[in-house]
């Protein structure tokens, strides 16, 4: 390889022919943004399976789950993805927040402990990805530290990032607020729950991660 470099031979045409068609993509976001709902929809649409359970209680996903070989076809292009559904990222986890949802103190403390481990796992996964779908709750303020941290990490690593502005089925959603906060990245307004704009998301996935 060193000799090839020294000779100055350009093999970029070879790279284009063998362009990577399999990418490992992480689904990231804060707790309760709809990451697992989106992962379930993608995996169900293209393989017929599901990835994980969803809940109103934050930090339902406390272990990263990987689904290999999900082939997405859209507009004549195709991409095969290994999809990693990650636990919600957070800077604070208070077990009292789970008790509000009716969990016992013991259950809440256990959930909080597992959630802290899940956050660490999600952070570690950033080192092993080819790109990220960042799921934001379009009804919430987009300038959260989690969003800023994930976007900053992707920009620093020069890896592709696609923002899914989720929950557009809710009346107070505002994907335009997300667009004005992060205009440098592609944004697809979706409802992972209802399936709105999901075809558009697949188009963008095939384009950005293919």
């Amino acid at each position: 390889m060193g000799i090839i470099k020294r000779l100055g031979i350009n093999f970029s045409w070879l790279k284009r022919i063998f362009k990577k068609k399999r990418a490992r993509i992480g689904i990231y976001g804060p707790p309760n943004a709809g990451k697992t709902t989106l992962a379930n929809r993608i995996v169900r649409d293209w393989t017929g399976d599901a990835m994980g359970s969803v809940s109103q209680i934050p930090h339902e996903t406390r272990r990263a789950r990987r689904r290999e070989g999900v082939t997405i076809e859209s507009n004549g292009s195709s991409v095969t993805l290994d999809i990693v559904d990650t636990p919600g990222l957070a800077t604070k986890i208070d077990f009292h927040d789970f008790m509000v949802f009716g969990l016992s103190e013991e259950e809440s403390k256990r959930r909080a402990k597992e959630a802290t481990e899940g956050v660490i796992e999600a952070v570690k996964w950033l080192d092993d990805l080819d790109g990220v779908i960042l799921v934001m709750d379009a009804t919430e303020d987009p300038y959260t530290q989690v969003n800023v941290t994930v976007i900053g990490n992707m920009e620093a690593r020069k890896l592709p990032l696609l923002i899914a502005a989720n929950k557009i089925d809710l009346p107070n959603s505002s994907p335009s607020r997300i667009h004005s906060a992060f205009p440098q990245h592609p944004i697809v307004p979706i409802s992972a729950l209802e399936g709105q704009n999901i075809e558009l998301l697949y188009q963008e996935i095939a384009e950005h991660f293919g």
Partner: protein, 118 residues
Amino acid sequence: MKGIQLDLISEDKLDAMTSMEKVRLILDEVRNGKILILEKGLTPNEQTKLIELTMTEIAPDEFSGIEIESYPVKQNDNLLNKLLGKTTLKTRLTVIGPAAQLKTIKKSRDLISALVSP
């Protein structure tokens, strides 16, 4: 006089520290109940390190984590960098405190509004 200690840490001091030193300092001070304002924020890599370490220190009824707010990083695309095809990221002011005492009310590209409780 009773109150919450607020420490403003200069860019020069932060520049002289390694990533791990910064993260350790932040966590130690925040665990002692201080609120820190960093003139120059943390790099994205330092932010994830801080999140990781914070998670290892969370303990029920003792420490529930941190509140951290920073402006989004800026791309430092001056003419020289453009000519060299390089882009570097410029971090910006950051506020960090104990989650139990610092709560962000509102945040936009250029404004962080927070509430501090004793």
